[in-house]
Symmetry: C2
Subunit: 161 residues, 2 copies
């Protein structure tokens, strides 16, 4: 498994991953009716941001985007988002993408990384982030409507770099 | 003082308010080099969002924008932002705009209102929000570089409606 910068040729494999994740409505506060064009606009970053794919040979197993969280006086803090193909979960792809994003942000001189909206029932994400020193700094109660659990909290998570 | 929907004719008075606030770099994580066109794109909401002005006769004293905070499973929570002209601060304009925004969100059926990035040294905003039942749910440490205080925290604040 290798992580490399997203290229146009990857999109036919990236879009189904995004589509499955947003349709499930379990982990991202994204519009489930999002079109392919909207997904591309949201997910594919322009410099200074970056979008990457985790690949095994020709197969895309997951994707991440990373960039600046806020502008001006907030632009020293980075953010990132991660999606892994449903049948590739539990295999360390998310871990590899998170490590990549943290290294990327550190190398570019960001002071920290913030995750703005981590669904509190997404235990695999919360646990992964915590293993890498990203802590919950607060939870907005009931800010996400989960199809099975109803209104659940959205964590804000942060680590200094 | 009256609050009404923003109209094109207000822009020549709204832009200097935004310009002063972003140049000060004390309260908004917005790019201080923001152009007039970028400011207009950021501040003037399209439906279902709304931008309003607080006016005294022909004079614009302050402005607010309000809308949906996140998409899809997060779209039941609203957000809002407020700016008051420097020489009109302390006169209740912010209070009137906040009350307007909370009423607007309640009437439209939003379950809550979230403020994503309240600079912790912006005591007038923090105190105002708290008076209206909006509580700090967490603080991202050092996420804002203040010109006088250096790295200060950004509060996430929330109230249920």
């Amino acid at each position: 498994m290798q992580i490399r910068e997203f290229a146009d040729v990857d999109w036919p494999q990236v879009w189904p991953i995004i589509h499955e994740v947003v349709q499930a409505q379990e982990t991202f506060p994204y519009d489930p009716m999002m079109t392919e064009g909207q997904a591309r606009d949201i997910w594919i970053e322009s410099p200074p941001g970056l979008t990457v794919v985790a690949v095994n040979g020709d197969r895309v197993l997951g994707t991440a985007k990373m960039g600046t969280n806020r502008s001006g006086p907030g632009s020293h803090v980075s953010t990132a988002s991660f999606m892994v193909a449903a049948d590739a979960r539990g295999g360390g792809i998310g871990t590899a993408l998170l490590r990549f994003a943290l290294d990327w942000a550190r190398e570019r001189g960001f002071a920290g990384m913030q995750f703005n909206a981590v669904v509190e029932t997404n235990h695999s994400a919360v646990n992964l982030y915590e293993r890498y020193g990203v802590s919950v700094v607060g939870t907005v109660p009931g800010a996400f409507i989960h199809p099975a659990h109803g209104r659940v909290g959205l964590h804000i998570m942060y680590r200094e770099l």
